[in-house]
Symmetry: C2
Subunit: 312 residues, 2 copies
């Protein structure tokens, strides 16, 4: 591998995808502390909010306030979701570094999640792309349900290819491929990527895996082997999807980083500080930390403390 080939960048989605479905409101100060911790751990792309309808997703209603008070660490890109022009305008007023639009590879999921067809969603994103591009703001595209849909079951790679191509053609600099309900396996991930990579360069794709069926790291490994170098993850495995029955959280950033470092990839991330960030937000939310790496480290530390106490 060349030096560039060894660099993997994590897109940390814990503060948005991770928190948006928390049942009780997460205080702004908690969100700001999380984002600060993540930047301190060396994360360079942090999805920090979402300019969606506050009635639909109340947990993200404070995104304007969040971006207004955010301590911006130089070199860190703070991003947000913008489903439409109204969202983009709010994002621009809030001085968001980068925005994202989100489509689905499944018609049923598109209807339930954003209440329009896939084709309508792409039409809706076109003016967002045009205005963002004119303002010099990079736009990321998300495609959900790329390896399966809670309503339709399996999704054809051709359907994923069409919507991915649509987002890239209208100006998204990259598309994040979401296994929203975590049903994919290395088999379906490889089949999908082989199709996509036939005419899309690997650097324009990112992998976004949920760990519902425990397959996330194996699927990310396939993505890496296929040349992808941008991986979405959420610290402490925060998250879940209200429109995806049985969906658990995102793959935990700690577990991804542990794997990447073990494979000789460079992420620029300090795993100890990342684990601390995950433990802090888990404690703040009174939520079990879903990162295996974080849990193993805590157990090991406890075991050592017990040993030390026993030998005293």
């Amino acid at each position: 591998m060349t030096a560039t080939d060894r660099q993997v960048s994590i897109v940390e989605v814990g503060a948005r995808d991770g928190l948006q479905n928390e049942q009780t409101p997460v205080p702004l100060t908690t969100k700001l502390a999380l984002i600060d911790d993540l930047a301190g751990a060396g994360i360079r792309t942090i999805e920090a909010g979402s300019f969606v309808n506050p009635t639909a997703i109340p947990q993200m209603a404070d995104s304007d306030a969040l971006f207004a008070t955010l301590r911006r660490v130089p070199g860190v890109t703070y991003t947000a979701l913008t489903p439409n022009i109204r969202g983009l305008e709010r994002a621009m007023a809030a001085r968001v570094d980068e925005v994202a639009v989100f489509a689905a590879a499944s018609e049923s999921f598109s209807q339930r999640n954003i209440r329009c067809s896939i084709a309508e969603s792409l039409q809706r994103f076109e003016p967002v792309l045009a205005q963002a591009t004119a303002a010099g703001i990079p736009v990321r595209g998300y495609v959900s349900c790329v390896l399966g849909c809670p309503y339709e079951g399996s999704i054809s790679p051709d359907a994923v290819e069409r919507v991915t191509r649509g987002l890239l053609d209208m100006g998204c600099y990259e598309v994040s491929l979401g296994d929203t309900i975590g049903v994919g396996t290395p088999g379906s991930m490889q089949a999908l990527l082989e199709l996509l990579l036939a005419d899309i360069p690997a650097h324009r794709l990112a992998a976004h895996c949920h760990d519902t069926y425990g397959q996330a790291l194996a699927n990310i490994l396939i993505a890496l082997q296929c040349g992808l170098r941008r991986i979405d993850a959420a610290v402490a495995g925060l998250g879940g999807c209200p429109f995806a029955p049985g969906a658990t959280g995102n793959v935990a950033t700690e577990d991804v980083v542990y794997m990447l470092h073990g494979m000789g990839f460079d992420t620029g991330i300090d795993l100890d500080r990342l684990v601390a960030a995950g433990n802090a937000i888990s404690a703040a939310l009174a939520r079990e930390n879903a990162s295996r790496v974080a849990t193993a480290r805590t157990r090991r530390r406890d075991a050592r403390a017990q040993d030390a106490a026993a030998t005293r």
Copy 2:
């Protein structure tokens, strides 16, 4: 892949490796029901007991009784651990189909786990191999700590190669490579297998991964890519290791099988029945099912039941 290349056999270790560290005694009837459920699900190799010193591992003290009362399903191999001649004699009296000896790649772990050096352990196994072979009983070898040791940290692939070679040379038909504390990554697994496969055929190696750091499936994926076709796993992710601080259970068989089927591998296993077996033993032990696949299926079923109730 050829048809043979698509066959993966699971060595189910839940009834032995999985149960041996349970704090409260597991009734013989519970063990027998588990083993029967596993055979019913299509598992063809079941590690059912251990003829070790009952004082050291009380949970396995009933292995003689277990094998005496076991309902033997034709085509299923029922195996047991035999650390020495005394154990082998008990295993032969109990009509065990196959036995296993267990060494470590780490001197410190060998001393703590079986109270002798690696070299001494190999010497101790030689008469076991000789007598088993004379009786026509296949012997499997285990090597623990192949990707790391709780006392020594990293373990060199050369150390693993030496003990693996020793076990194969004395007549083990296969060696199971154990990442006992689950610290391995696809990077260390690949480095190890590349070294071993330089002079050991893939069909003489098996992968035995613990999921402590969430890396098990990714590591198994590497093993499959390297040509290994025998994978150890424990239904419901049963297990842990008393000599390995912070070690959690084995990788869950359900999650491995889900991945294998998704990759087009043939295991002969009925995943629904396997999930049922895991749910049954988890309920019997009042233990949370550690399989992600089992958990996701239960949640999805509950969500569907709620939907059905809501629309009535």
